[in-house]
């Protein structure tokens, strides 16, 4: 949806849901996988749904059920799970300038995943103030709902589904990189930004290829920032 269409939207929550639809291509297959793994680790369907509803943080949920099932000390399980999520601390301050004074905003941060942050960071600045909370609620609510529903589905019928449609679970997650690409292209406004974003992208890719997925995101972003500051801007501009 274009920026102009956003400005004219009379149902911002619906626009938010529409904007979040590409996320479902990745959320649902991954949530189904989580549900399946959670059941295999000894949690029942109800417990799996509670974990997805309350923790709601993709990779760290896999780690949580894996460590708990493996008999790791619970304090270590909690600490490692939170450590993976530490990157989330920079998300809310980045979108704070576009959030209104509504008292519900802090609670709505429960839905601020990597993907919703990326979407909100690109869309909120182009939206009238009064539409922002509706848009965010629609987008984050759909993503959250799909994650919980996918987890439930995976816990109940994940094994059968993955055997029946293996191609679907392989193809649909490509919606995620495709969406991130679309969100990042408009940020390539100078050589400095192109290089910094490229360094972050390829560093994360390399780290993840060598099985360092958990540290890939913060480390790659730090390398991108180093590249950004290493390149002198033209005309003295900092960004």
């Amino acid at each position: 949806m274009s920026s102009q269409a956003l400005l004219q939207s009379s149902r911002p929550w619906l626009t938010g849901m529409r904007d979040a639809i590409p996320l479902l291509g990745a959320y649902i297959p991954i949530a189904i996988s989580f549900g399946l793994i959670s059941v295999q680790a000894g949690f029942n369907a109800w417990e799996t749904v509670v974990i997805s509803t309350l923790i709601y943080a993709g990779a760290s949920q896999f780690l949580f059920v894996g460590m708990a099932a493996g008999g790791a000390p619970l304090w270590l399980t909690v600490a490692m799970t939170l450590l993976i999520n530490i990157r989330h601390v920079v998300y809310a301050p980045n979108i704070a300038p576009w959030l209104t004074r509504n008292r519900w905003w802090p609670w709505l941060m429960h839905g601020l995943t990597d993907q919703i942050f990326a979407l909100a960071h690109s869309r909120l600045p182009h939206m009238p103030e009064q539409q922002r909370i509706g848009w965010y609620t629609g987008a984050a609510g759909l993503a959250w709902g799909s994650w919980v529903a996918g987890s439930a589905l995976g816990a109940i019928a994940g094994d059968w589904m993955i055997k029946s449609w293996p191609l679907l679970s392989e193809v649909m997650p490509f919606a995620l990189p495709s969406l991130f690409l679309v969100l990042l292209i408009p940020r390539c406004t100078s050589i400095r930004w192109v290089l910094a974003l490229s360094v972050a992208t390829f560093a994360a890719l390399a780290l993840a290829v060598f099985s360092y997925s958990n540290v890939a995101i913060p480390l790659a972003a730090a390398l991108g920032a180093a590249a950004f500051y290493a390149i002198q801007p033209r005309g003295g501009s900092t960004t």
Partner: protein
């Protein structure tokens, strides 16, 4: 699930929520304090880190589920088509749909060869 495990789930859930919520409260306070100041409320490094985090998440998500030649080719072509459709449409949905369709077609064709 044991009582101890339930507590671990709740502590993890509250910790994750705190990591998402508390920085917003801190930033709101900073924005209020600096409303009448010339200094930017958002520290420059934090504003730069936002897009770079998205780029890093992109990098991690580029790795296919079955990392073989076909999947990497599908990833490359899917990205090219996504960019091409975005360049023409400047929209969100169509580039993603076209990228996924291309990725899927390459996977199907690759599996038939």
């Amino acid at each position: 699930m044991s009582g101890e495990l339930w507590v671990a789930v709740l502590v993890t859930a509250l910790g994750t929520l705190a990591m998402r919520m508390l920085p917003l409260l801190w930033m709101r306070k900073r924005l209020r304090q600096q409303a009448n100041s010339d200094v930017d409320a958002l520290p420059q490094w934090l504003g730069i880190l936002g897009p770079l985090m998205i780029a890093a998440v992109l990098g991690v998500s580029l790795i296919p589920q079955q990392p073989d030649t076909t999947s990497w080719s599908a990833t490359l072509l899917g990205c090219i088509v996504t960019f091409g459709v975005w360049y023409r449409s400047r929209s969100l949905g169509w580039p993603v749909a076209a990228g996924v369709a291309t990725f899927g077609m390459v996977i199907v064709v690759g599996s038939m060869l």
